[in-house]
Every structure is written in structure tokens, then in C-alpha cells.
Amino acid sequence: MSKVRVTFNEELCKGCELCKNACPKGIIEMAGYINAMGYHPAKLVNPQECVGCGFCALMCPDLVIKIEKEEIK
Amino acid sequence: MSKVLMKGNEVIGEAAIKAGCRYFFGYPITPQSELPEYLSRRLPEIGGVYLQAESEVAAINMVYGAAATGVRVMTSSSSPGISLKQEGISYIAGSELPCIIVNIMRGGPGLGGIQPSQSDYFQATRGGGHGDYYLIVLAPASVQEIADLVKKGFDLAEKYRNPVMILGDGMLGQMMEPVDFGVETSGDSFDKSWATTGKNGRKKSNIVNSLYLKPEELEVHNRELEKKYLEIKSKETMAESYLTKDAEIVVAAYGMTARIAKSAVDMAREEGIRAGVFRPITLWPYPEKELNAATVSAKGVLTVEMSLGQMVEDVKLSLNGRLPVEFYGRVGGMVPTARAIFEEIKRMSEKFGGVK
């Protein structure tokens, strides 16, 4: 498995939970706090379990999520 | 009936029902959607028909068809949607059918905005459609007056077989005030022998039509329309005058703007400036005589509109050079404040007014 980094731009998040719903590993949760727009943003709880499937990013309507991968030489 | 608290848009709907209107064809648009939404609930309850048309063009032509059958029928929209209805409105006027068309104006031109405006005055009073025709245009300034004018509107429409427009701005449509609907009426007393409902034993078929290919015939038709318009002009003007008796500066304004102007005039009076408000209730026919009567002691007239200056032309035409006419307007959804109007009054009073 390649190494992936999934990052959330919390200020864009509207807390819709579509990413959370899509994540096959169930590692996305909503934060307890709210962002400037007043929403509870999504965040990764167990990043190491991420399989880099990108489902979260595919489903996110607000371009909150960025995915990077270790290049496999 | 006692008073109830309702939004202007909803009152249009309920007042129509109270006037015996059972048919509504429309298309959603802000800021008047509360009206179709209200009627989509209410009309089926009382055996009426609410139908959302595929477009404003279709809606006005459904109204044309419904009006042809002699029923009381209404449609409503806001500025861009009213533009789309222009061909249909011209047909309804040309075929002499009664109906009510509501325009709750928003900022323009084009898509514009969704905030209140009064910049469709020309379109309403000069016929945005083609050909020589006029709508009877009623401009309520309160929720109660909406109720009264919608009822009156249906009667006028049927009396003259002419479309009536209720012209308001988004603020009036959204505002809540107490309203008393009074007694229920219907259009049953008006002659409907012209209606196309099937011959049902009648010898000659009824035809609803605006086509006269022979110019001689079309001219006769146009002259008949003209006669009707002249009659309406002479009989049906309505206006309110507020403190105009001794006013040196008269503010001419309609709808919500007129109410703000009243506040401004109150301010002016407090400062000893003799100001008043002239509020046309019928925008067409324009209450020319009433305006002249309201300005006998005036030194100048200030027209205030939520537009770049449209009704001001009717003010000028009515006064025909007798008094200086100035204009103050806000546009795009901006609402003139009472204070700003007061400042204009003050300025004009200094410019034209006598010694206090």
C-alpha cells in the first residue's frame, strides 16, 4: 500500500458528512468545534488506516479534501 | 371579519379568493413565491385550481384561456417574468378580457436582484407589450390596501373587460400587517355573455380574438378601446393626499415609497416646513386632476421612486410646466430613507419655499 496523506481544509467544510458516509474505513468524524461558517468540520481520526481510496474527496461537494501519495519509484 | 396578521403576498392570494377568484396560473419567482405557494394550499381546499405553468409565457396564456371562459383568474410574477408575459398581456388587452396580473417588482434590468424596486413603472403604465393598450394599474401601499385593491381590481377588470395590474415592490409583498378582508364577493353580477364556454344552445358562437386583418376594422376596434380608456381615465382615478392642503413642497410617491415619504413629511412638519405627500393609487389612469388639486399651494414637487425616474414623467405631464418637478430615487433594491427624503424636502423648501 502506498503512503497517503489526506488533508481537510476545515474552513471550507460545511459538515455535510458525505465524506464520512463514503469512507470505507470509517475514519472520518465530525469535530466537536465549529468553524467560522458555524459548521462542525470533518476530520480524520485514524489517518494510518486510510487506504487512499479517495472516496471522501470524490464525494465532498466543497473541495475541502486534498489527497497526496508517496510516489512509488 | 376580524383582523388577521399576514404577509402582503399571501394577502393578494386570500383577497383574490375572497373576491371569488378560484383560478391561478403562475411560475415561481422571488420575491413573490409566497403567493403561488399560498394558493397551491388554499385553492384546492375550496375547489379551485392552482396550476404551476411551465413558464411565465404559458402562465399568461393559460390566464388568457381561463379569462375567456368568464371566470375570475389571476397570475403573478416579478419583473423578468412580467417581461415574458408582455405578448400575452397585449393579447388579453386586445381581446378585452378581464384578469389580474400581479407584479411584485425587484431590481433590474436583466436578472438584476431580488430586493424591492419600482423600476417597472413604465412597463406597467405604458404597455410593455405592443400596440395601443393600457392596463389599469393599482399600487397598494399597505397590506390592508392590497386586500381592498385586489377586490376592487377584479371588479374594475370585469366592468371594463380590461386586465388589471397590481403593482407592488418586494417589501410590500414580504411585509406583515393586520388585514381585514371584509365581505366576500364574486363577479356574478357582471355580464359574461361574451364568454367562450361552448355554445350551449346559443345561436352565434362566441369568439375571443384580437385579429382584424382589415385596417378599417382594426381601427374601429382601436377606437373602441380608446373610448374605453378615456372613460376609465375620467372615472377611475384614485389617489391619497397627505397634508397637502397648505403644502409648499409636495412629495409624489406611490406604494411603500409613499409611506416612507409620509415619515419624511412628518419630520419636515416638525421643523416647520409645510410639506405633504401625494400618493397615486391608480398609476394608470394617472390621477392628474388629483395631483393638480393637491399642489394648489405648492411651490415645487419632489418625485420619489425606487427607480431612476419613471413616474416623474407622469407628474410632469400632469403639471404641464406649472411647477418645478424634481426627482429623488434609489435603485437596485436600495430603499430611500425617510431622512434622505426629508433632506430633499428641506433643500427644495429652501430653493422654492416662501418665507416661513
Binding site: - | 384561456g65 381561463a66 405578448e87 393579447y91 358562437s205 375571443v208
Partner: protein, 248 residues
């Protein structure tokens, strides 16, 4: 001697203004015959189009409304919704119905308005002097396709029955022709079925009649019959595209 064929009583005495050999006259007569036979004259409201048939209100001896160009289905909707007991039909040309009035006909069908539409497809704008219609055939010369209609520029003719057949609300859709006596009879049957369904409250019905415009086709009326048979029917197949037996 008994009269077996004469002017139907749902027509007035007015002389048609149509050109020699124009099929509008045949189709008017068929509609009137059907109204007579079904006994509907007294409760019918006809909606006239803007097109050569604009004076339909002078010819049909029923209450009539002259609609704006293309809006007859909306006008018909207004009538039927307020007076459900009337029998309402619109009579429309191909410019009227398939061009400017496309939204109105699609939505009237989609809502399954209980009305009957007589759709006279003559592949041209007759009244305004022969401009291209959405049903003009490829290669057909008109005043606005002087070198013949080209599909690259204006696409292919619209098949209205086929298009409306995708709508569950369209109860009855048929395409017929009046280029010979047999087809005239079949057209009448289709029209009769359409009105019958309306009487039964079954919803939207439309009969598309392929029809000649000898004047703007620049043909003799007899020659125009061949154009229908050979050219139009080739692209616009006759038949029933929807009928209540299979509907909904």
C-alpha cells in the same frame, strides 16, 4: 334522395380563404364532422392558432379563442381547467406547435391535459410565405433555406408524435395523412378517437396530419399529394404512436 355528404353543421357558411388544394380545408371538415357525429358542437371550445388557420374561429361554428402564436395548448389548458365540462381542441400548424410552441405542447402532454390537438404538419410556414419549419424535410427549399434545408446547419426535422410518445401523459398520438380518400377516412377516425378519449376524460390526445401547402411548396395541388406520399411519409411514418390501451 338522401344527402349522404354535405357541409357538416359544426362549420359556418364562411368560405375558406385557403389556397386552391390546401389541405386545411379537408382537415377542418373532418374535425367538424367528428364534432357533429359525437354531438359535441354545443359544448366545444376551439383554439385557433397563428398560421394559415388563424381564421379557424370564423369557420368552426363553435365558441373559439384565437391564441398567440404557439400558445394554443396553454390557452386550451386555461379553458379546460376552468370549464372541465367543455370539449377543448386546439388546431395548430407545424411552425406554431413544433417551433415556437414546443414547450407548451410538451408540457400540455406531460400534464395530460384532457384536450385534443389537431396538428397540421405541412412542413412549412404557410401564412408568412414559406419559411422553413422544424418539420421541413432535408433538401426542401423554402424562403429561408433557399438552397434546401441542410442537416449540418439546422438538424433534422422533428418528429412530434415520437417525441411526445416519451411522455406518460400523452394518451393518444397518431400521425395520419389526407393525400387520398382512404387516408382521409383514417384521419377522420383518428380525430374521432381523439375526441372520444377526451369525452371519456382520458387525457391528452393529438392527431398529426400530414398536409399539403401547394402554394409554398410551389407545386400543383395534385403534385403536392405525391410529395406527401413519397417524401413526407418516408420521413414521417403514419401510425398510432400511443393509445390508451397501452398508456401509463
Amino acid at each position: 334522395m338522401a344527402v349522404v355528404f354535405d357541409r357538416p353543421k359544426s362549420l359556418t357558411d364562411a368560405k375558406f380563404h385557403y389556397c386552391p388544394g390546401c389541405h386545411h380545408g379537408i382537415i377542418h371538415r373532418l374535425v367538424a364532422e367528428v364534432l357533429d357525429e359525437l354531438g359535441l358542437q354545443d359544448r366545444t371550445v376551439g383554439i385557433a392558432p397563428v398560421g394559415c388557420a388563424v381564421f379557424a374561429y370564423d369557420y368552426f361554428d363553435v365558441d373559439c379563442i384565437e391564441a398567440a402564436h404557439g400558445r394554443a395548448p396553454a390557452v386550451a389548458t386555461g379553458v379546460k381547467r376552468t370549464r372541465p365540462d367543455t370539449i377543448v381542441f386546439s388546431y395548430q400548424g407545424d411552425g406554431d406547435l413544433a417551433s415556437i410552441g414546443m414547450a407548451e405542447i410538451v408540457h400540455a402532454a406531460a400534464r395530460s391535459e384532457n384536450i385534443t390537438v389537431i396538428f397540421v404538419n405541412n412542413a412549412i410556414y404557410g401564412m408568412t410565405g414559406g419559411q422553413m419549419a422544424p418539420t421541413t424535410l432535408i433538401g426542401q427549399k423554402t424562403t429561408t433555406s433557399p438552397l434546401g434545408r441542410k442537416s449540418e446547419l439546422t438538424g433534422y426535422p422533428i418528429k412530434v408524435c415520437e417525441l411526445l410518445a416519451t411522455l406518460p401523459g400523452a394518451t393518444y398520438l397518431a400521425r395520419t395523412s389526407v393525400h387520398d380518400p382512404k387516408n382521409v377516412r383514417q384521419t377522420k377516425e383518428a380525430i374521432k378517437k381523439a375526441f372520444q378519449l377526451q369525452v371519456e376524460g382520458k387525457g391528452f390526445s393529438l392527431v398529426e396530419v400530414l398536409s399539403a401547402c401547394p402554394t409554398n411548396w410551389h407545386m400543383k395541388p395534385v403534385q403536392a399529394l405525391d410529395f406527401i406520399k413519397n417524401d413526407m411519409m418516408n420521413y414521417f411514418p403514419l401510425g398510432q404512436f400511443k393509445s390508451p390501451e397501452e398508456a401509463k
